[in-house]
């Protein structure tokens, strides 16, 4: 897959910070203060974060404040829905918080960049060497050009932890089927058939809410697609096509699971939370979902639950719906952006890895120090490392347009309900994408 050259990328930036940094070279980096925080007098930094960060962030900011007693960090946490709904307006306040949790894609990060409410982090990437912590593909999700092209231009954010969609499995049930953990898609489909023959429900899916099928279907889709192709599509790069043979093969396989009865028959009417709790109580062999369910499932199932990355298809590469968590942004209204960046560096630094593992999360930065404290988190970390090693992150597909979430959730419910065919589905999705790209 061709990618735009460095030249076109930089020339598209206009007067952005990357260009200044690039022109200025090392001199620009020296303009950023990276230490001496004990000597700046009493300063307060305010953070607007999302609930998932509560445990690790509170511990890390406390550690920072203990090191620099003159620095006060005030953090407010909101649940996902409230944070998503208010983030743009909070960033728009005259006294906006210094550090704001954003959300990848056009609706939130795109709007923040367009309105000039957040500042480019390029000078800090250079000053702190953040480049070393993430693969190049991963970092594209923080890029936006100032004219609104996603996936290109300067980096406006950086993230704490990793999210990976894979498959949770019931260890006792898999063992009772006489099967090993499937690593290839062929093995996985054979396991589904074996489970069905043994009278077990192969795949638990509660799709009343619409989004869970995006993750379940991605397990099939990922066995057929190339991760870089999907990222190009998510970023809206020219020529990317969802209605391709690869994607169609993936959704045809997924529809096959529905037709074979491998998936919960009441999927469209079953609530997501109810579904994973029923899985924990022993209904279903496999539960495709993201590692955000780790704590809840481990608490209920203990050592009887495991997790594996999406089984590989013919490419032999691990591809997964995965990304890093909500990006941290620095407000363009911040009086102390350098200090804010220092706090971000402190919080995300791989040497703080253990704090994340202790909170049941996967640190996003490569080379994290520490290890998982329970076997399920260890499984998810193994899966994440597999995906990272193969550069197999596809990101979340609904980032591709402002209405893609609704298009995909409604479309997958229709696909499961037999209202539309896999061809219809990929065409609908591609039509939404093309419409958005044409009018953007």
């Amino acid at each position: 897959m061709t990618r735009r050259s460095t030249f076109t990328r930089i020339s598209a930036l206009g007067g952005s910070a990357l260009m200044l940094a690039a022109l200025g070279g090392p001199a620009a980096a020296q303009d950023v203060q990276t230490d001496g925080w004990g000597d700046i007098g009493d300063v307060t930094i305010r953070i607007a974060a999302e609930n998932a960060s509560t445990g690790s962030l509170t511990e890390l900011t406390d550690m920072f404040m203990a090191e620099y007693p003159n620095v006060t960090i005030e953090t407010s946490f909101k649940d996902w829905d409230s944070h998503i709904a208010t983030m743009l307006n909070v960033a728009d306040l005259p006294d906006a918080p210094d550090i704001i949790w954003g959300n990848q894609g056009y609706v939130h990060d795109g709007a923040l960049v367009e309105a000039g409410l957040i500042t480019s982090l390029e000078p800090y990437y250079e000053a702190y060497g953040w480049d070393d912590w993430f693969g190049p593909g991963t970092m594209d999700q923080w890029r936006f050009t100032e004219d609104g092209q996603f996936g290109e231009g300067p980096r406006w954010g950086i993230s704490e932890s990793a999210e990976v969609v894979g498959v949770f499995y019931n260890k006792e049930k898999l063992a009772a089927l006489g099967l090993e953990v499937p690593t290839t898609f062929t093995e996985f489909e054979a396991a589904l058939a074996a489970a069905k023959d043994a009278g077990e429900l192969p795949i638990k899916l509660g799709n009343l809410n619409g989004f869970p099928a995006m993750h379940t279907a991605s397990i099939a889709q990922d066995a057929f697609i190339d991760a870089a192709d999907m990222r190009d599509w998510v970023f809206g790069r020219e020529g990317a096509d969802y209605a391709s043979a690869d994607d169609l093969a993936g959704f045809t396989a997924f529809k096959g699971w529905v037709d074979e009865g491998y998936i919960s028959p009441d999927a469209n009417g079953l609530d997501y939370d109810q579904a994973w709790q029923e899985f924990a109580a022993g209904d279903g062999v496999f539960l495709p979902a993201g590692n955000w369910l780790t704590a809840g499932l481990y608490e209920r199932m203990g050592d009887n639950v495991g997790f594996f990355a999406p089984p590989v298809g013919e490419s032999g590469k691990t591809v997964a719906t995965s990304s890093v968590s909500m990006p941290l942004h620095i407000s363009s209204k911040s009086q102390n952006p350098d200090l804010a960046a220092a706090i971000i560096d402190y919080v995300i630094n791989p040497d703080k890895g253990q704090v994340y593992f202790d909170a049941g999360r996967i640190p996003a930065a490569a080379g994290a120090v520490g290890e998982a404290t329970d076997p399920l988190t260890a499984d998810t970390y193994t899966a994440w490392n597999k995906v990272s090693a193969d550069d197999g992150l596809t990101f979340y597909q609904d980032w591709a347009s402002d209405t893609m979430y609704d298009t995909m959730t409604a479309g997958l419910q229709e696909l499961i309900g037999g209202r539309i065919s896999p061809e219809d589905y990929v065409n609908e999705v591609q039509a939404d994408w093309a419409d958005f790209q044409a009018n953007r």
Partner: protein, 304 residues
């Protein structure tokens, strides 16, 4: 030039009408701030392209053209009108039947039944939605009951069924509104003078004739109130649908208010969302005025 506010015939002597405005002032000011002013802003936003931050870009009638040329909006409105049957006509029928029954037959512990029937009105809609998601689920009590009476074949996850999700939601609205209608009608029935019923009985009217000749015409005002409240509820209902199905499966339960939320708040196309809001408000106003007009017309009430 002062007769207008001076005094009204039949009222307490010397009491100026003007003071009445003082009484309504707090409510009116609150309505101005939380009702009228947001609506004016809403109309303004509907003529722009705006993500909620930065400068809105004026686009004239583009949002209205976009909304009105989208076939999705018409199927959404069609679903709203189907919901009127479940949210309004059905509860009013049930309410009338209950009122007629409760007014004729002496039932032990009648107050208890009334409270039970009215109870849904006192519960937060979000709680109702979550409870009904359980009730309608594959192993919920609806299906348990069907299995109990041997109808295993028709059990399904009701809210996940493309044909049944909308009626299933509608019946929640029926359950919710029936109590309200009943309370309105029972109160109305109690105001009907007993001599009207005596006269009807002397003329040899049975229970059915009595209902149509006396009870129903006497409840005209209550009917208008019940119809107005429940129809508006049906047209703008959002929380029940959003929490239970989110508009799904597919778009089987997507109403204009769900579209409004998806476009206005999830996709941050505030202009498009506002345009749907203005259209919806206009429609509700027209329907409400029609109901009140039709209610005012017709014959004068008997015997009040």
């Amino acid at each position: 030039m002062r007769p207008r506010f001076a005094a009204r015939s039949g009222g307490p002597p010397g009491e100026p009408r003007l003071v009445g405005y003082l009484y309504v002032a707090p409510a009116f000011i609150a309505f101005l701030i939380f009702g009228i002013w947001p609506f004016i802003q809403n109309v303004q936003i509907s003529f722009t392209q705006w993500k909620g931050i930065g400068e809105p870009k004026p686009v004239g009638f583009d949002n209205y053209v976009e909304v009105l040329t989208d076939p999705d909006i018409y199927s959404a409105f069609l679903r709203s009108f189907i919901l009127i049957f479940f949210y309004s006509l059905l509860p009013i029928t049930i309410g009338l039947l209950l009122a007629a029954l409760l007014s004729r037959i002496r039932i032990r512990g009648i107050a208890g039944y009334r409270v039970a029937l009215f109870l849904p009105q006192t519960i937060a809609m979000v709680v109702i939605a979550i409870a009904w998601v359980w009730i309608y689920s594959q192993n919920g009590i609806v299906n348990e009951f069907l299995r109990l009476i041997g109808l295993d074949g028709v059990t399904r996850a009701w809210l996940g069924d493309f044909d049944w999700a909308l009626p299933a939601i509608g019946l929640v609205g029926t359950w919710f509104n029936a109590g309200l209608c009943m309370v309105l009608f029972v109160a109305g029935v109690q105001k009907i003078p007993a001599d009207l019923y005596d006269a009807a009985r002397v003329d040899g009217a049975g229970p059915v004739q009595e209902f149509f000749a006396v009870t129903l015409p006497s409840l005209r005002n209550e009917l208008v109130v019940a119809l107005t409240l429940t129809v508006i509820f049906a047209l703008r209902n959002f929380d029940l649908i959003w929490v239970s199905t989110g508009g799904g499966p597919g778009d089987a339960t997507t109403t204009p208010s769900v579209l409004l939320y998806e476009l206005g708040f999830e996709a941050r196309r505030l202009g498009t969302g506002s345009a749907i809001g203005v259209i919806l408000t206009g429609l509700i106003l027209v329907v409400a005025i029609l109901i009140v007009r039709i209610g005012e017309r017709g014959e004068p009430e008997p015997g009040r």
